[in-house]
Assembly symmetry: C2
Homo-oligomer: 140 residues x 2
């Protein structure tokens, strides 16, 4: 299997409100998104929002009862102060604070929030990993 | 918050065996990976493996008991027969079958497996979404 990731699909209980949250951050949904699924182009890959029961049925385990949080979604930002600023913005739009912005032992700064469906996100400034073209995170 | 995804960090119970599984698929770990964390460059972003208790502590909710599966990780392949071939390969390396390869109502073909930590993956051939340079998934 190639060393790639094409799509991250987040199971959601309320597709409309989950979509509205990401749109409120300034994200633009793929024009063919509809009431059954919503896609966002994110660099070389795509984030999808999809009703959790449908996601579990597609996974072949409709009886599963997943609890969000075994995965962290991360977005790296260019400057230290972006962590605080972006965190303030997402909280204003209805995200839940998990941890306030704080310096890390490895010399960066992070903050954690959960989207309205409970999926945890990390906003990170990692000066040892400067962002490449179009915000790509390329390990040095 | 920009419309990007930099890092997907998978919480794992056994970092060594989780890393060994992805390496057995032919993935190459970032050279500065160590016994505390492992990174894989995946196109414009990165997948990390990180012990689940540490991940939850970083998320500010060490008491959480997440159950894998509210998110599907997807890899899109170039040809219909790649779905079956890649599925066979990952099963040989210790993945768990969730659903066998099957044609979908929307004209593609998919199969689902779980990695050794229970994180579900989808292998997809989606002919309406041809892959771009370096395997990027760019919505048309």
């Amino acid at each position: 299997m190639e060393q790639r990731l094409s799509l991250v699909t987040l199971g959601v209980r309320d597709l409309n409100s989950a979509r509205a949250f990401y749109e409120s951050l300034g994200w633009e949904a793929y024009r063919e998104s509809n009431e059954h699924i919503c896609f966002f182009q994110t660099g070389c890959m795509v984030i999808g929002l999809y009703p959790l029961p449908d996601l579990l049925t597609d996974q072949g385990r409709p009886e599963a009862r997943p609890v969000a949080g075994g995965i962290t979604l991360g977005i790296n930002v260019v400057a230290r102060e972006d962590v605080d600023r972006e965190l303030a913005k997402v909280l204003e739009k209805g995200a839940t604070l998990l941890t306030p912005a704080a310096d890390t032992p490895w010399g960066g700064r992070t903050a954690y929030f959960a989207d309205p469906e409970g999926h945890p996100w990390e906003i990170t400034w990692a000066p040892m990993f400067p962002l490449g073209a179009n915000g790509a995170l390329i390990l040095p």
